[in-house]
């Protein structure tokens, strides 16, 4: 959960991620990427 959370913190610097009608899906996409990245950190790194 912390990896997607950090995305939401830095997203404020990247208006193209939230300044669009697709914003909820972009959030959903980053959450999935974040979950995958967190699994990588937990299991591999």
């Amino acid at each position: 959960m912390s990896v997607p959370l950090i995305f939401t913190m830095i997203s404020n610097h990247f208006p193209f991620t939230y300044d669009t009608a697709l914003a909820p899906w972009i959030m959903g996409g980053f959450v999935l990427v974040g979950w995958a990245a967190a699994k990588l950190i937990r299991d591999v790194l």
């Binding site: 959960m1 939401t8 913190m9 404020n12 939230y18 959030m27 959450v31």
Partner: protein
Amino acid sequence: MSDALREWLNLALRWFHVIAGIMWIGQTYLFNWMERTFTPPDNPETKPNISGELWMVHGGGFYLVEKQKWPEIMPRALHWFKYEALFTWISGFLLLAVVYWSSAPLLPYASELPRWEGILLSAGSLVGALAVYRLIWFTPIGDNLALGAVLSWLAIVGSTWALGKVFSDRSAFLHIGAMFGTIMVTNVWMTILPNQRKMMAITEAGGKP
């Protein structure tokens, strides 16, 4: 609040928040790595209570960590990891108030919603997220991991959509993060710490968990 004061508070809180968050997440992943790296002791018959050992070198020190099956360390200092989470959340919450509640970016420019209603919705969204999270993961629903994950993901996308209807787009995204942080800190303080205390109490009473 004057603009200058708000800016100073923003800077100080943000600095604190980032450092506290780094410590919290860093600790989490260090312990995670330790859990994955432990090897069983070579002489398990002489160490019945040790489930794993781990040797590390960092800076000028060499370290041996042993993982116990049940806590045997009662008379000595026991270090808890709880204030990183608490202070990250408190500084984050104050930051939310300083940046979004007391100044421009909470609501869209054309919004007719009074600011105080926006603030109530902002605070309510954190409580609501916690309620939804607990409803999914602390009931039989959460026993099915895949179902829990799908519901959680849908709740996140749905919340982003709903918050975007009321708040500015930027603020909607930030609130998703604040919801995550609120859920995480309550996991530490409402679930993990009470369970750790229970284990301590059982051991102190002479039993093995």
